[in-house]
Point group: C2
Chain length 419, copies 2
């Protein structure tokens, strides 16, 4: 039969990460590929306790339909948390509870993007935003970005060239994939430019609370007077991802439109999951939880940085994140991270080639490393293998061209969904 | 500031049901408006037991990211259930677990619909499909529908007139809103016509297992040889809606495309919720649960039909569903269900005017009644009030024009999300 899909399906392909992660399901593989938090730190027992209480005391309510906007105590908690942590002045009425912050991307894409509309983003940018928004067929304009954030002069120049640009999308804290954090000055500049060019800003902040050192910086939303910042958040990295609870904070009239879109998309987020998160937060101290996560992730980041410094050949550069889950590596010019990945998979080490994080392609010499999901000794061993694979590759390159393998082919189990 | 939303937002408005349901949050209101199952029948204790076991035995796995496709034991269970109940020959590999069947509508809309594409639907059709798909700006073509289902000659004629129609959308069992069930002959005919015109069929079956009498009929998918039927299902009506677990069954290549779209939309459905449903199904007997639901819902339907027969004035017609949650009422020509609703709300009775279920408007003399969420005595009292409001309205109509009230205005709590 003829398959007549929507035009949006032409450009859509399975995430490259998904294909890589299938391979990393094998236990012998040291994977720096996923974006998974460390499951040994999930507060399983405390969650079991509050779940039992919810089902005993208000079970029928927890299993029934509830509102599209979200569970009121959870919406209040989120608004208060944002206010207390420089996240912007949102009230509970501005909060829409979503199925993770990934759904916030889908809903904001639906709200703003017609075919051909310009999205300005960091270069590189979060792969999940690319996959959420490509269904709306936007035009991606990558803004030159350095260790301090987007370069404001470049942003202004590009906004001048694209005066109808709809949104600027940024991950200002411990960005996925680069691990970079925007300076205070760049945050302020971005909002000044956004005001001047009257463009919406989508601020995605899944990792902001996972700061290993230094002082937290105020969000873009905290500089927002016009109601142009839509702030996406999630419990996936500070609590657990399996419940799929996140939020979109946005003022009127954006909030009301997003609620209508959410109702069409899935009616509401799980009543029970929202009540679980709300009650967990009421009866436990999230700050204490985060204080337990941070030394573990910091130690893993340290181990990875030390190993990279020790093992990597000359000409390899990498970022030094002060929080979050990822760091970013640039190989010497002309060395392909995809070829390196093929080589590495033969040694049972995996990562994500950086090309996937550039919506307009290129940058094949870059890759992303995750350090949150592996213990320190596996991180050291993995970087050792990675360096040895790279050494071999550089050696071979000096002799003849590599015959790229097809290690990724073959029937493996589906991988975890994290991007 | 200028608000520059996507064009799709122009036509989008908040669901009328949401506005009505806000009013019905008041406890004194007898509501036939929502589509809520009876919460007193949820298996709360059994779910609490399996949840405790999951968190004890495999808690870290339950709270971690998992695959976009869904929890493997749940996918297998769904495929086996469909096979055993005339639901079509799908394998576990064809099942994508979704956030309720509402998400199945969003994903299939994304898969098929470009702006202006023709969707053929029953007349009336499910409001949730209208709200899910209107964001893709399709052209709705309502196919004349009687008590046996879509009229095949009318469908064929409309397909001849719209040879590029993308999908036919149907709810063959105890349809929302009409309560009607398609005959076997009409099911077979639809699939013959769909094969002849090479069109995809989306079969939405949330209520099929809630049959009060008579013999279950095979699904459209069971007649499908070409892989053109996409089958949507949910645990919301036979188990509970609060966990938001449903599915899309579709063969390759549709399944793979839907997985990519699901990943962009929300990565995956809650790992814990999927494990809860799977383990509940493994350790309990869903057929026994359904056997407990049916007499309760049957009794409520009977009470509503008896009350309608007794109380309604001449010229009012209503359907006699053999299962599901809804029945459908047609008022005498020229009487507006919206005006009747205003009158009814003054007497604390609510329902949904039928116009909302016709994507191209009209049919203001119809309305939908839900009987699953109210005990029998409240049903009798509610229909009495409704009939008395209608009597008053008919009396007034004979004298002068009604001054339509604005009972719906004002700041009430957000309503449950069910459509």
């Amino acid at each position: 039969m003829t398959t007549r899909f929507a035009r949006r399906m032409e450009a859509l392909k399975a995430s490259e990460i998904r294909e890589i992660l299938k391979v990393t399901q094998r236990p012998e593989v040291i994977s720096f590929a996923g974006g998974l938090p460390a499951p040994e730190l999930f507060p399983v027992q405390a969650l079991a306790d509050v779940t039992q209480k919810i089902l005993e005391e208000e079970g029928t309510r927890a299993l029934q339909y509830s509102t599209t906007e979200g569970h009121p105590p959870l919406r209040s908690w989120i608004a208060a948390r944002l206010a207390a942590h420089g996240g912007g002045r949102f009230t509970a009425d501005d909060i829409l509870v979503t199925a993770g912050s990934q759904q916030g991307l889908d809903l904001t894409g639906k709200l703003f993007l017609d075919e051909g509309d310009v999205v300005l983003c960091e270069s590189p940018t979060y792969l999940g935003a690319i996959s959420a928004w490509n269904v709306f067929r936007p035009r991606w304009v990558e803004v030159p970005t350095d260790d301090e954030g987007m370069v404001p002069e470049a942003l202004e120049q590009l906004l001048g060239r694209h005066p109808n640009a709809k949104i600027v999308y940024v991950v200002p804290n411990f960005q996925n994939p680069s691990g970079r954090t925007w300076s205070l000055e760049r945050r302020r500049s971005l909002m000044e430019v956004a005001d001047r060019y009257d463009v919406f800003v989508i601020e995605d902040n899944p990792y902001g609370e996972l700061r290993f050192e230094g002082t937290p910086l105020p969000s873009l939303a905290s500089f927002d007077r016009a109601g142009r910042v839509i702030s996406l958040g999630t419990f996936s990295k500070v609590f657990c991802p399996g419940l799929r609870v996140g939020w979109v904070a946005a003022r009127s009239p954006l909030h009301e439109k997003l609620v209508v879109l959410k109702q069409g998309a899935d009616l509401q987020t799980s009543t029970l999951a929202q009540m679980q998160v709300a009650r967990y937060l009421a009866e436990n101290d999230l700050d204490q939880d985060i204080a337990r996560l941070i030394p573990v992730y910091r130690e893993r980041r340290d181990a990875m940085l030390e190993a990279l410094e020790k093992e990597m050949p000359d000409g390899v550069r990498f970022t030094r994140p002060t929080g979050g889950l990822f760091l970013w590596v640039e190989l010497p010019v002309g060395v392909s991270a995809r070829t390196l990945l093929d080589e590495c998979l033969r040694h049972n080490v995996a990562f994500v080639p950086g090309g996937a994080f550039f919506p307009n392609g290129g940058h094949e010499e870059t890759f992303r490393l995750n350090y949150s999901n592996m213990p320190v000794d596996r991180i050291r061993e993995g970087i050792r293998r990675l360096a040895s694979a790279l050494d071999q590759l550089l050696l071979k390159r000096d002799n003849h061209r590599i015959d790229a393998g097809d290690v990724l082919a073959g029937g493996c189990q589906p991988p975890p969904s994290a991007l």
